[in-house]
């Protein structure tokens, strides 16, 4: 595809990009195009302003000042506790990983013990439950990563 055609095609995607409607593949192509096209960057900015204009048309509601102040206070408290948490946590180490490995091994040992020694259904049940809990933990981590990916995708759309 010639550069002119590609530019035209990308320009047509800008309104949808401003409304954050592009699929990941389209987003990546547009991102690559924008890196070398200041005109489209400027145009996207204008489309984005137009999109946000829709939000500014929403009638102003009434917010309870006390509740709003409570949210504000919670935010500041989160910022402060987040700061403390950041300094206390070792970077790059997942604090749950060690526990999950330990729980997984314990589960396997329990199941192994209850099957190969005298069959003890209590131990067997404990082992199976431990493994199920590890499975739930892994699933939760997967969902957490997925949520982070979605947030990242939105972030990429906004920072195009």
């Amino acid at each position: 595809m010639s550069q002119g055609l590609q530019h035209e095609e990308m320009q047509e995607k800008l309104p949808a990009a401003a409304l954050e409607m592009l699929e990941v593949a389209e987003l990546e192509r547009l991102q690559a195009h924008l890196a070398g096209c200041p005109g489209c960057v400027q145009l996207l900015r204008q489309y984005r302003d137009a999109a946000v204009g829709l939000a500014l048309q929403v009638p102003a509601g009434t917010t309870d000042p006390a509740r709003s102040a409570a949210i504000r206070n919670r935010l500041i408290a989160r910022v402060r506790s987040g700061r403390e948490g950041r300094t206390a946590r070792r970077p790059g180490v997942d604090r749950w990983l060690g526990w999950m490995v330990a729980a997984g091994l314990a589960g396997i040992l329990l199941v192994h013990h209850s099957v190969h020694q005298t069959v003890d259904y209590g131990w067997l049940l404990s082992g199976v439950l431990t493994l199920v809990l590890v499975g739930v933990g892994l699933y939760a981590r997967k969902q957490q990563r997925r949520a982070a990916e979605l947030e990242d995708r939105g972030d990429r759309s906004r920072n195009l």
Partner: protein
């Protein structure tokens, strides 16, 4: 105070937030919380849930302020788009349990409210009244079918194909309508920018 000065203020606040200045977060909150709450309430039709969106929005703004690039848009635009995303996440989660067509429509209602926009009580950004009136006029000037698809996209967070399904229009028609509507809005708001359309 002009729009440019307000935009500069937001940009400076975001830069200070990126540097870890929590008073900048408080100032940004004071300036925009009401507007963010109004948008989230409009999308979710639930003021209580909208309060959660307000908190999530400013928390995300705090965490990601370092990624904000002022060359790509105004700080307020960036913040409003975060708020919209957070509210739409909740709306989509809710929609998994209910049919979208059963939820109250945004389309049409906003059109009616924009007609009396200038009579609205001034908010913290009353300096923007001229801009809002211009936006209202631009939106009112859109043909209803174009306005409807833009509303479904922006406030409903629907994809092109979902809008096509919702409106029973071909996908290509939906894409064209969205493009045309956005082009018109951009052009009609050109006078608010220093440069031409």
């Amino acid at each position: 105070m002009t729009n440019g000065v307000l935009q500069d203020q937001d940009r400076i606040l975001l830069r200070r937030m990126a540097d870890g200045d929590e008073s900048a977060l408080a100032a940004l909150y004071d300036g925009w919380a009401e507007r963010v709450h109004a948008l989230a309430t409009w999308i979710l039709k639930d003021p209580d849930e909208a309060e959660d969106v307000v908190e999530e929005t400013f928390w995300q703004a705090w965490r990601t302020a370092g990624r904000y690039d002022s060359n790509r848009g105004a700080g307020s635009t960036w913040l409003i788009m975060i708020a919209r995303s957070r509210a739409l996440d909740r709306l989509r989660a809710r929609r998994r349990w209910t049919d979208w067509s059963d939820t109250p429509g945004n389309v049409g209602i906003l059109r009616e409210t924009t007609a009396g926009l200038t009579a609205m009580a001034p908010d913290a950004h009353s300096e923007n009244v001229d801009r809002q009136a211009a936006l209202a006029a631009a939106l009112d000037g859109l043909p209803p079918d174009q306005r409807r698809v833009v509303d479904l996209a922006f406030f409903g967070g629907l994809s092109h194909s979902e809008i096509a399904e919702q409106t029973a229009e071909p996908l290509g028609t939906v894409k064209t309508r969205i493009r045309l509507a956005m082009q018109k809005l951009r052009q009609r708001l050109a006078f608010l920018r220093e440069e031409g359309p």
